[in-house]
């Protein structure tokens, strides 16, 4: 390929990625040349600015018809745009949380690394969301993973941090291997790594064995990727890693990385397996034939997450299980494959982003002072900081899916999607609702601590501006989308024409 073909590409559509890349590089250099003594917080703000810039440039692209460059390895369709939006907003807020992060034993000399690794991870996620080729997809995935391995181990001198990083690396690598193994089979059956071409080929395979092989590949990929989603069967790393990792990283893992996971799984499943025959009599496409397996995983995830969460005393661990459960709810969306799938997924991920990040901001603030992460730390929070307590309460209610919050609308949406198809997924919905009720126990347990229990120390707490911003934004969004969800839905309907271009 010569220069002018290279120049002929519409590089413009990659602006957001370029911005992030640039900022990441800049940050690393700045960190290198900044005197040790100087606080690295400034880097955080630079990164924040970068993300905002990327966000703006992305918004500029909204509404345009889908484009793809580099032989269709990078495509910017409405799906990519919509979910990049979430990624960027999420990371922006995580960054704010990170800026407000001051653990006891300090993090100063690593703070710089933290920011540019964080940017790298974000870049990986963004690449994933708009890659049209297995290779770019894989590279993006690894960029995200490897960066977050290091992020998890950021607190070098903290044993828990090291351990969580170690666990993350090993499980992550195994997951990658499994995913890749699955991919390799798909490649073998199609002879290409380009998603679109793949689905083209797969429509025409008829050989029983090939179809079976494809099925195996499907399961390997699903299980491999379930690592990123932290859903069954590859969920068990989450509690340990969440607990050990620095709180901002935990927030990042539980929101951004999870979102990325859903992006990639949708990309792969619905572009590769949507058109492949399942080889059964009525000629269903494979994805529909294997729907029930996903449903099974979803059910398992919801049950596991919610039941085990009942026993947790460590707040971060609790939220790890809660986020497992939430991932289970999201799997329900994929399992039900209704015409609302993309909207539902997008809305719920958005709602989840806000309520979870808001909660994590508060958790970080409450726990990092005392060092202890026991739920008891929340005792009497209402006395010490009413605003924090009420905000936390609203986030919890939203996570529990109580009306008036975004979480409720999201769940409503999920239920509808699951019940609309002619043979509705009643069992799945019942499990989801039942486990939701179970989740009341631990969510309200935290509230009982905050409102009913006497305060451990009655010292008033002052909140750093960055955290206040995060909490404020999350609070506003959680309530706004709970009361006037149409703002989001109209935006979705108006600008992403039903994600129809996903399949073209």
């Amino acid at each position: 390929m010569d220069l002018e073909t290279l120049l002929s590409y519409e590089w413009g559509i990659m602006t957001p990625e370029f911005i992030i890349l640039g900022v990441a590089t800049a940050l690393s250099l700045m960190d290198l040349f900044m005197p040790k003594s100087q606080s690295r917080k400034i880097l955080g703000w630079v990164g924040f600015a970068g993300i905002i810039a990327a966000l703006v440039s992305l918004l500029g692209h909204i509404g345009h018809s889908p484009e793809s460059i580099l032989f269709d390895t990078f495509r910017l369709d409405s799906f990519a745009k919509a979910f990049k939006l979430l990624l960027l907003i999420g990371s922006a807020m995580v960054l704010l949380i990170a800026i407000g992060y001051e653990p006891n034993e300090g993090l100063e000399e690593f703070r710089g690394e933290f920011f540019y690794l964080f940017m790298a991870a974000l870049l990986g996620a963004m690449i994933m969301s708009s890659s049209g080729d297995l290779i770019t997809l894989f590279v993006g995935l690894e960029l995200l993973s490897i960066s977050s391995y290091i992020l998890a181990g950021m607190r070098k001198r903290n044993l828990h941090s090291n351990e969580s990083a170690m666990k993350y690396v090993i499980n992550g690598s195994i997951a990658t291997a499994i995913t890749l193994f699955g991919m390799s089979y798909v490649y073998g059956l199609t002879g290409t790594t380009n998603l679109k071409e793949m689905s083209g080929f797969l429509t025409s395979i008829y050989n029983e064995q090939h179809i079976y092989l494809l099925g195996l590949a499907f399961f390997m990929i699903v299980v491999g990727l379930s690592f990123k989603l932290a859903t069954a069967p590859f969920h068990m790393w989450a509690p340990d890693v969440y607990q050990g990792a620095p709180t901002p990283v935990t927030a990042f893992l539980s929101v951004v990385s999870k979102t990325a996971g859903f992006i990639i799984i949708i990309r792969i499943l619905f572009s590769i397996f949507a058109n492949a025959p399942s080889g059964d009599v009525q000629g269903l496409p494979m994805i529909l034939a294997l729907q029930d397996y996903i449903a099974f995983l979803a059910g398992a995830t919801m049950i596991i997450g919610n039941l085990i969460a009942l026993r947790q005393r460590n707040i971060k661990r609790l939220f790890a299980y809660s986020s497992i459960a939430q991932a289970g709810y999201l799997l329900v969306v994929i399992a039900s494959m209704s015409l609302f799938m993309f909207d539902t997924l997008w809305f719920y991920l958005g709602a989840y982003l806000f309520m979870n990040l808001g909660a994590f901001a508060i958790i970080q603030h409450v726990t990092h002072k005392s060092g202890s992460e026991d739920i008891g730390q929340f005792a009497g929070l209402y006395r010490r900081a009413p605003f924090l307590a009420i905000a936390m309460a609203i986030f919890l209610l939203s996570l529990a899916g109580i009306p008036g919050t975004a979480g409720f609308i999201g769940k409503l949406n999920i239920f509808m999607g699951a019940l609309v198809p002619n043979e509705g997924h009643y069992v799945l919905v019942s499990i989801m609702i039942a486990t939701t009720v179970v989740s009341y126990f631990y969510y309200f347990g935290v509230m009982v601590q905050m409102f009913f229990r006497p305060a451990a120390d009655t010292g008033k707490v002052k909140i750093p501006a960055a955290l206040t911003a995060v909490i404020g934004i999350s609070l506003a969004a959680t309530i706004l989308f709970g009361i006037a969800p149409n703002i989001a839905f109209d935006f979705l309907q108006g600008n992403f024409n039903q994600f129809t271009d996903f399949f073209q």
Binding site: Y149, I150, M166, G191
Partner: protein, 104 residues
């Protein structure tokens, strides 16, 4: 000399993958575990290469993919080792089964 059938390669890859997986899930020494993961990734590479030659529709992409995998695998192991070292600093042990400070 395409006497070796594709199935052979696939079988080899599969076996290699399983050995790797077995090692990764049973060995006590973390370094060994990382190496076992390498095995798994190499199994993938064998698959890809084999397919790019004897696949239904052979193409060069597989080998390109392989290159990426190799590179990424190297990076992963590097990071793994790095983390292991920092962990060793605090814990004075590389035994994977002793890394259970956080559980339940």
């Amino acid at each position: 000399m395409s006497t070796v059938p594709v199935q052979a390669y696939l079988a080899l890859a599969l076996i290699l993958f399983c050995i790797g997986l077995y090692g990764a899930l049973t060995k006590r020494n973390t370094v060994i575990v990382l190496i076992s993961i390498e095995l798994m990734l190499n199994a993938v590479n064998i698959n890809l290469v084999a397919f790019s030659k004897y696949g239904i529709t052979p193409s060069i992409t597989g080998q390109i993919f392989t290159l990426f995998v190799i590179a990424v695998a190297a990076a992963e192991v590097a990071v793994g080792i790095a983390i292991l070292i920092s962990l060793y600093r605090n814990k004075k042990s590389v035994n994977i089964d002793e890394m259970d400070a956080m559980k339940h």
